[in-house]
Amino acid sequence: MSQPAAYTIDDFHLAEEPHHPEGSSTMLGFWIYLMSDCLIFAMLFATYGVLGTSYAGGPTPRELFDLPLVAVNTAMLLFSSITYGFAMLAMVDGKKGATQAWLLVTAVFGLAFLGIELYEFNHLIHEGAGPWTSAFLSSFFTLVGTHGLHVTFGIVWLVTLVVQVQKRGLIPANRRRLMCLSLFWHFLDVIWIGVFTFVYLMGMLR
């Protein structure tokens, strides 16, 4: 009946953790974070889809939206996407200065995008079309505002990485961080495709 003495609690887990190189799971982990972020946006899109026609006697999309402005905004985000791509290519080539320069160009396009969006929000609120006016505008400001907040934090992250690269160079850790931000930045562009199609363009068709 007695068990051999060697049969101890230690046998139920690995005596030694399997070795993984540092950061080897970061990219997959970050991708899964992005997927969860995608679900947040899906909920906001669904909310907008349901409430988007509840004007409560207030203004309709056709009266409010300025398509040429949205087109310029979309162009800003699209330009920032390809300049971030150039930053990644410079990183792969090990060109520190070029990487930083392209990152800063990306930040400028990102700031231009944010500036236009804030101008639009300000304009809407001054026209009496703030988020409190109708369910349509509440869901509009929540959806577009959440995307804008993501871009804001993306720019903060971007500037942080420019400083990091300046201090430590293109070390593996910084390359990994740049690749994460690359996913984040391009992901925001994908979300924006949904925003300009379903919110602005479909809004003008109503």
Binding site: P21, H186, L201
Partner: protein, 127 residues
């Protein structure tokens, strides 16, 4: 000048753990960008000038949006079946399924709730 040494080390290290396609090439970024420009310009042009019926425009711009999202996934996010041993694409497929259920379900249910409201129902006469 520590950049060249950084490059040699980092480059090697990076590619030891990640697949080769993780960064994409300059050509890929340009193809993705040009496709995106076209796929953005056409929907905007359609809505601004409205050369065809609204229903047709709505269908067309939705198709362009879906296509452009795929273009971004392939050329900018470098999505493929092999990234991270296939786990990236699995997470993506799972997310897309959830997103489709949540979106179509919400819209479908709420649309029918609105449709099935009794026409004479007036909130001011209630309770």
């Amino acid at each position: 000048m520590s950049a060249p040494t950084d490059h040699g080390h980092g480059h090697h290290d990076d590619h030891g753990h990640h697949d080769e396609g993780a960064h994409g090439s300059r050509k890929e970024y340009w193809i993705g960008f040009l496709l995106s420009v076209v796929m953005t310009a056409i929907p905007f042009w359609l809505v601004m000038t409205q050369p065809i019926g609204k229903q047709a425009i709505a269908m067309t711009i939705m198709l362009f949006a879906a296509a452009q999202m795929i273009v971004h996934m392939i050329f900018f996010l470098h999505m493929n079946r092999k990234a991270e041993g296939g786990w990236s694409i699995m997470a993506l497929i799972f997310t897309v399924v959830i997103v489709v259920i949540a979106l179509s379900g919400s819209l479908w249910v709420m649309y029918h709730m609105n449709e099935n409201m009794m026409p004479t129902m007036d909130m001011s006469q209630m309770g």
